[in-house]
């Protein structure tokens, strides 16, 4: 993944300069497309019975993780709940390992023992993958606590949905993070629906970016469908945290095109609403249009990226079907760390 190389303040000083370089936008486009295609393939494999249980797709929200990841550096940590495939791919985890975990095979990141909601990569700074709504927020504060304890300048990016934002432990964590000045970026991915309940029916607050206000945590609302806006806000948040000023909160206004999980009939919203978001606000189409219009990227260049992404996804799907199921001996491993 591309790392942030330039500062947003410099860019904003020159009005005519595009808000993101050609190279960075191409990378963002490719990363968002990889997540989109991967999730489409996951949905397809689910439909064929190759993926079981719960499967929460990230389609529509790709700009959030891709934009944020561009602000991070080695040693920074990422944690989220169960709509997590996009976060894994954004942190650089291999599509093969993720897809094979979805199919419950030994080649998966958790050897097939975690599934869609439970994958981890210490190497890539990805700490899961958690199935209990809101639990990852306290855990994320703990990742930030570890940075504070070790006195490094790393940050922990803690993602949760607007549904989770009502959980008691989220408020406990906001207080703890502010109290100890932890380098924690709380990101509310507000996709408008916690399963089938709209945010208006679940939260009395109309501006979730201010959920940290009682503890003095700065918050911003961000167009989460725009990877450039996400990255700019992310850079402000990261700079704040790295400077030791404590936590920061970003409310990403985003949208999921698919149901909450695979078995969601989505009767709580109209098809027109979904279609309108896809047609007017799609993060990938927006990036694609900007690449063509402002950076004169050719269709042929984009085709190369599209083909590359498709090949990665196809390879992951093939691997996820060829990788064997875990051997029965795996039942009894990893319950405890042995050798004591």
């Amino acid at each position: 993944m591309a790392q942030a190389a330039e500062t947003s303040t410099k860019r904003r000083g020159k009005a005519k300069e595009p808000p993101m370089s050609r190279e960075h936008l191409l990378t963002a486009y490719r990363d968002m497309l990889l997540i989109r295609r991967f999730e489409e393939k996951a949905g397809q494999l689910y439909g064929m019975g190759l993926i079981g249980g719960f499967c929460h797709l990230y389609i529509g929200q790709e700009a959030v993780v891709v934009g944020m990841q561009m602000c991070l550096k080695d040693g920074d940590q990422v944690i989220t709940s169960y709509r997590d495939h996009g976060h894994m791919l954004a942190t650089g985890m291999e599509a093969r390992g993720v897809m094979a975990e979805l199919t419950g095979r030994i080649g998966g990141y958790s050897k097939g023992k975690g599934g869609s909601m439970h994958m981890f990569s210490r190497e890539k700074g990805f700490y899961g993958g958690h199935g209990i709504v809101g639990a990852q927020v306290s855990l994320g504060a703990g990742l930030a606590f570890a940075n504070w304890y070790r006195e490094n300048d790393n940050v922990a990016v803690t993602y949760f949905g607007e549904g989770a934002s009502n959980q008691g432990q989220v408020y406990e964590s906001l207080n703890l993070a502010a109290l100890f000045k932890l380098p924690c970026i709380f990101i509310i991915e507000n996709n408008k629906y916690g399963m089938g309940t709209s945010v208006e029916r679940a939260s009395a607050s109309r501006d979730l970016s201010q959920n940290g206000a009682p503890w003095g945590i700065p918050g911003e609302q961000v167009n989460g469908m725009d990877v450039i806006a996400v990255r700019e806000a992310g850079e402000r948040a990261v700079a704040h945290c790295r400077a030791g000023k404590g936590p920061y909160l970003l409310e990403m206004k985003t949208y999921r095109y698919r149901g909450h999980s695979m078995s969601d009939p989505a009767k709580y919203r109209t098809r027109e609403e979904v279609q309108k978001m896809r047609e007017t606000s799609d993060c990938i189409e927006t990036a694609r249009k900007m690449l063509v219009d402002q950076f004169a990227v050719t269709e042929a260049e984009l085709k190369v990226i599209d083909d590359d992404v498709k090949a990665i996804v196809q390879d992951s799907a093939d691997f996820a079907q060829q990788s064997p199921e875990p051997p029965e001996s795996e039942l009894w491993t990893d319950v405890l760390v042995e050798g004591r």
């Binding site: 397809q44 439970h118 306290s138 703990g142 990742l143 207080n175 990893d334 319950v335």
Partner: protein
């Protein structure tokens, strides 16, 4: 190359559904994400989105058709994404779900005497040399201080642990020695700070979380079980959690139902955790040091009433006790009394009384509830042929029930009488002094139980 569109499964249990409506016709171009059809299951109507792009060349299942099997071909697609066709046709692997039952069955049969049980080692308690009398409170503090000196990744957090010096003065002096970064006062938010400690442990830090009492750990039990205990398994061994949860457990005195509960069987129930329950100062020091060093989440169930009691404790710098090993506190030949935590003291008193009546009781201090040292208990029962279990907690699905069952599984033929449980009454703890006394195990009950299994 053409692709086929298959009837999708929309939930893990769906095997067939009704193709309610086609939204695309033959000749229509579709691209990824387009809604192409609606499908009705027994639960809901769902939209089917195209995965691949191309032109629909044939619709094989007309709308309105019921009972369309999952994975049957419902339409054909031409052109577009070349890879798709291969995928569709290439999926020939059998459905992994078919194997589920088989694995579950064989797993049950194969179940090794695994993590719940300690390694069978009939070793004699190591002689640690000189001892001196200290209180359980001091032993716990000394254990934390020793481990914090040895490893900068170890820190203590909890309510009132620092400036107040511990709600029960267990952490007395630690703030002075280690400073506010390693002895951390938290707000009264168990759920939040427990989750925070678990998150820190995921990165390799080694937190000691003090609950003012274990009653408050119920606020945080999701983080203890779902996050601390299960993540190692869910991550295929990648992400362990070296963390200690400690504090006073069980009844104190006259604090009523919400502050007088034993959590032994709650935590001992869960794979991925270790659970210890010290009785003496030596237990407290040796087990807590082992818990802090253990790479797994360990629950240390202390007892408030024991904090002020004094025992001889080894002074050796490297004194530590193994987790998973019980201790025979008193040898005997007629009956085995198994207890843990404060009840070990009552068992010892009972043994004295029984000796006066000519009954020789062997007292086993479990020390570790998970893993359980079944070997030591069984060896004792093979000698005495009789078993009494003693605990403060409730009987239902309790530690005594588990110990008795383990003994029946391992040495049923050695039992000369049905095991008897002595335990707290199956009620919330009453406040009134007389009722509280009646709700907790009493010495005479233990003596009676031992006499009943020895038919005396």
């Amino acid at each position: 190359m053409g692709a086929v569109i298959l009837m999708p499964a929309l939930s893990p249990t769906m095997t067939e559904g009704k193709l309610a409506r086609w939204l695309k016709n033959v000749g229509d171009a579709v691209k990824s994400g387009d809604v192409i059809a609606e499908i009705e299951t027994d639960k809901a109507t769902m939209e089917v989105e195209a995965v691949d792009e191309g032109t629909i060349t044939a619709i094989l299942v007309p709308e309105g058709t019921e009972g369309v099997a999952v994975n049957s071909t419902i339409a054909e697609l031409d052109g577009g994404a070349g890879g798709a066709a291969q995928t569709m046709h290439g999926i020939t692997n059998k459905n992994p779900r078919e194997n589920e039952k088989m694995i579950a069955d064989s797993g049950a049969k194969q179940r090794p005497e695994a993590s719940v049980h300690a390694e069978p080692k009939a070793e004699v308690e190591q002689d640690w040399g000189p001892t001196k009398p200290i209180t359980v409170r001091e032993a716990l503090r000394d254990a934390m201080a020793a481990e914090m000196r040895a490893d900068s990744a170890v820190f203590l957090m909890g309510e009132e642990v620092a400036q107040y010096q511990g709600a029960y003065k267990v952490s007395q002096g630690l703030l002075d020695e280690f400073g506010p970064k390693r002895v951390i006062d938290t707000p009264i938010t168990e759920h939040g700070f427990t989750g925070m400690a678990v998150g820190a442990a995921f990165t390799g830090l080694k937190p000691i979380v003090e609950f003012m009492t274990f009653n408050f750990s119920m606020q945080a039990i999701d983080q203890i079980i779902n996050s601390a205990a299960k993540t190692l398994y869910m991550s295929g061994g990648q992400l362990g959690c070296q963390i200690v949860f400690r504090g006073p457990n069980g009844a104190a005195s006259r604090v009523a139902a919400q502050h007088s509960q034993c959590y032994a069987s709650w935590y001992a129930h869960c794979p991925g955790l270790k659970v210890v329950a010290p009785w003496s100062a030596a237990d407290a020091k040796g087990l807590l040091r082992a818990a802090i060093r253990d790479p797994n989440p360990v629950i240390v169930l202390e007892n408030e009433i024991m904090y002020g009691q004094t025992f001889e404790c080894p002074t050796a710098d490297d004194f530590v006790l193994p987790i998973g090993k019980a201790k025979v506190e008193r040898a005997g030949t007629d009956v085995t009394i198994v207890a843990f935590s404060i009840m070990v003291g009552m068992a010892m008193q009972a043994a004295e009384k029984l000796a006066e009546q000519g009954i020789s009781a062997e007292v086993i201090n479990l020390r570790s509830l998970r893993p359980l040292d079944t070997e030591t208990i069984a060896n004792s029962v093979r000698k005495t042929n009789r078993l009494v279990t003693l605990e403060e907690g409730w009987p239902y699905a309790g530690i005594g029930a588990e110990v008795a069952m383990q003994i029946m599984e391992t040495c049923f033929d050695h039992l000369d009488a049905p095991p008897v449980r002595v335990h707290g009454l199956d009620i919330p703890m009453p406040y009134a002094a007389n009722l509280e006394k009646l709700a907790l195990p009493r010495l005479e009950q233990v003596v009676e139980a031992a006499k009943s299994v020895t038919y005396k």
